[in-house]
Symmetry: C2
Subunit: 196 residues, 2 copies
């Protein structure tokens, strides 16, 4: 947790603002490693920054394949393309998992808060049958009782993504602008203009 915002934060916030008319502006792609060490890649939804930090928040289901993947290798790279401003952010870093078993009080509170901010429809999905299992013939399996709006479902998890490098490419302009941000051991960020 740093006291000042990372220098790429304001750029990302600006892109989110300028692309806010697009529902998918908050969608990005998170790459992890499978248990066999192969690349895995899926769309995730950005759920804001963790209060008082530069960590990106996402949510997931404990029964999702990315959970054992992250437990085995917490490294990930997010690729985030903003169509309107024609920019790409590549954030490489570490993923911290917050599950129902979390003991850290601040993490528990964050998990409660994100759950409470979800829609009923989003909350309901955590009570659905297990993701990626053969689909049952009885649709009633997908109409469970509405979970509590206050207490997170036991399958509900938060992913916190802590970036160590950020590669920002702006396609507008010729040649395009590309800047690398690297976090040093002391927690400071270095930036460098590089060739696109």
């Amino acid at each position: 947790m740093s006291e000042t915002l990372a220098p790429w934060r304001s750029l990302l916030a600006r892109s989110l603002h300028l692309n806010r008319a697009l529902p998918n502006a908050r969608y990005c792609q998170l790459a992890t490693l499978t248990l066999e060490g192969k690349p895995a890649n899926r769309t995730v939804v950005f759920r804001g920054f963790r209060e008082g930090s530069d960590c990106l928040q996402m949510i997931t289901d404990r029964r999702s394949e990315k959970i054992p993947q992250i437990l085995q290798c917490p490294q990930g790279e997010i690729c985030w393309y903003f169509p309107k401003t024609r920019e790409q952010f590549r954030l490489s870093g570490t993923i911290i998992l917050i599950t129902a078993e979390e003991t850290h009080i601040h993490h528990r509170q964050a998990r409660d808060r994100v759950w409470q901010e979800l829609s009923d429809a989003a909350r309901l999905q955590f009570a659905w049958p297990c993701p990626k299992q053969p689909r049952p013939d009885f649709p009633v399996a997908f109409t469970p009782e509405l979970p509590s709006a206050k207490e997170p479902d036991e399958n509900f998890c938060i992913l916190l993504f802590e970036a160590m490098t950020v590669d920002h490419l702006q396609l507008k302009g010729n040649p395009q602008d590309r800047t690398l941000y690297t976090r040093t051991h002391s927690g400071h960020w270095q930036m460098e203009a590089v060739n696109p």
Copy 2:
């Protein structure tokens, strides 16, 4: 090379068609492994299917970081989100690299053809200074002589992506529809409806 099209091909073609008004509908995210075995992830542009096959074509610069990554580990996963139809395709498979040193005649011809179909602006980028190196102060470095429209630049490479599994998620509908396509050893595709 299979004689019949893979069953997910027509779905992908349909998505490309329905999303054709969006310039970024042809952008997808390709995850690979870094030389240290960490996930890497970047946006690439789909350049059509390789003639007579189900392989996806993309282009890249030989000086790009993904080249040594793919040479060390040819595994990749493409995540492709279509905003208008609200669909995600995850294609997991193997990447074949076609460089200036390619000896296979069909691959050489494919490389020539894709180069010849590029715009002058796209061709010019292969003669720019090395990607991700510190940016030179002299902008003249980015105005090289226009490369031949016929003979590919030596930095020009094609990536062929051969999918082994395809995970198709349609967000429209409640619950969402998700189908897995898996290629068997005999080259046939099996499909299965699974939980979202």
